[in-house]
């Protein structure tokens, strides 16, 4: 089944160059897709279009098999797609962690007690129970990232979108994130500049190029973790 289907999407910011041009993209259920591409190529813009946060100039969006037109439709599908923002500070709005994680379930109509219970369970699952009553602004960058993932997982989404989840994470938190994502058995789109990370968390990688998504197996040439210098730069080992 197609979870997300974009047809002929074009977009440019007011007064800017054409960023997305007749872009087509499908995400099927269970599919794990990586997107890589230069800075400013429009990756963030693309996923914002999927979530209905930016309106494309032209093209059709179908989500969960239904054509999406306008804010009302998007309001219905947004809770079913978990979106983790590039900057965790944008996502964490409450002064305390527990309240923040409970925000989504409360919006979905759960009672305060049930919302609290769901939030606690999600935090426990990510090994964040100790943070429940912590003030958000006292968390480190990596901890904020993990909490922002909790705020999304607690809504039990059917698909996940991560926008550059590894920026500013140390090696240990990065490994933890790979493990967390690995345990999730749902469709996902991950944007990253980190080839190894994409290789470990997704099965198929697209390159954002000239306003389109190009599927090119040679983009991520090989999928093992490199131990030699500059191993993260795509390259070929001579036969």
């Amino acid at each position: 089944m197609k979870l997300i289907s974009l047809k002929n999407i074009s977009f440019a910011y007011p007064g800017g160059r054409t960023l997305l041009e007749e872009l087509n993209f499908d995400l099927n259920s269970g599919e794990q897709v990586g997107i890589i591409g230069p800075n400013g190529s429009g990756k963030t813009t693309l996923v914002h279009i999927i979530m209905g946060l930016i309106k494309p100039l032209s093209g059709q969006i179908e989500i969960f098999g239904q054509e999406i037109n306008g804010e009302k439709d998007f309001q219905k599908i947004r809770p079913r797609i978990g979106f983790v923002f590039q900057n965790a500070d944008d996502q964490l709005i409450y002064p305390t962690v527990l309240e923040d994680v409970a925000f989504g379930p409360l919006n979905l109509g759960y009672s305060p007690d049930k919302a609290k219970e769901l939030a606690r369970a999600t935090l426990a699952r990510l090994g964040l129970s100790a943070f429940e009553q912590r003030l958000t602004h006292h968390l480190s960058g990596g901890e904020k990232k993990l909490v922002s993932i909790a705020t999304v997982l607690v809504m039990q989404p059917e698909a996940l979108i991560f926008d550059e989840p590894t920026t500013a994470l140390d090696e240990q938190t990065r490994e933890k994130l790979i493990q967390i994502i690995g345990e999730l058995d749902i469709a996902r789109i991950i944007i990253s500049h980190d080839y190894d990370f994409l290789a470990q968390t997704t099965k198929k990688q697209y390159l954002m190029n000239k306003g389109r998504l190009v599927f090119d197996p040679s983009v991520v040439m090989h999928k093992h973790v490199h131990v030699h210098p500059l191993g993260h730069v795509p390259h070929k080992h001579e036969e």
């Binding site: 923002f85 500070d89 944008d90 409450y94 002064p95 309240e99 919006n107 305060p112 919302a115 999304v152």
Partner: protein, 250 residues
Amino acid sequence: MLEQQFIAYNSFIHGLDPRIKLVQAFILSVILALCSSFPTLAAGIVGAMIFYFLSRLPMQKLLSRLLVINTFIFFLWAVLPFSYPGETVFSLGPLSASREGLYLAMQITLKANAIMIIFIALVSTIPVPTIGYALQQLGLPEKLTYLLIFSFRYIFLLEEEKNRLLRSLKVRGFRPRTNLHTYKSYACLLGLILVRSWDRAEQVHKAMLCRGFQGKFYSLYKFSMTKNDFFFFLISSIGALLLLMLEFVL
């Protein structure tokens, strides 16, 4: 204010329902602001100190807070007695201090300190977000409540933003002086902070939409009153009545 240094203690006062504390702090400070006789104000100070001892906050922190407000009051003492008309008590060269002016300065000092101590004991012992929810349950409109709560969340980011920008000015050899260049740099800094908070607000709104926000806030917390709250409310209301009687009856 930003560090919330008074909430991390345990005491009778800390355990009370925040709504009760807010209501009592409001009632008592209105009464103290209206009263003017010295016995009433002195009783107000004594009452405030009782709250303070019940809250078991360290004396040194209280004094450092009071120092700030009393610095302002010091200027009142330097100006009021000499500018207020009335019976001369003593003269300094061409200036003469009036009895009425001295009384007024004394009243203000007592009032300000009593109210300050009450607020430190009752209000600064509540975490800011909780103050928001408590006020909401006392009838504050939802929008104002969440304005308070979100301000409290994001004010730290603004401070960080400011520090980051200041640092970037410094590493490029910027030193504040009294010249046009300094003022221009500060103006740019302020402008940048403004623009970035605008951007941030936009991003935050998007993030809220993604998490199913549809314009309505739901609170996770309910407050419940215990015997202690009832007891405290009764005693401090009697205290408030006594203050009124001291002022208007006796």
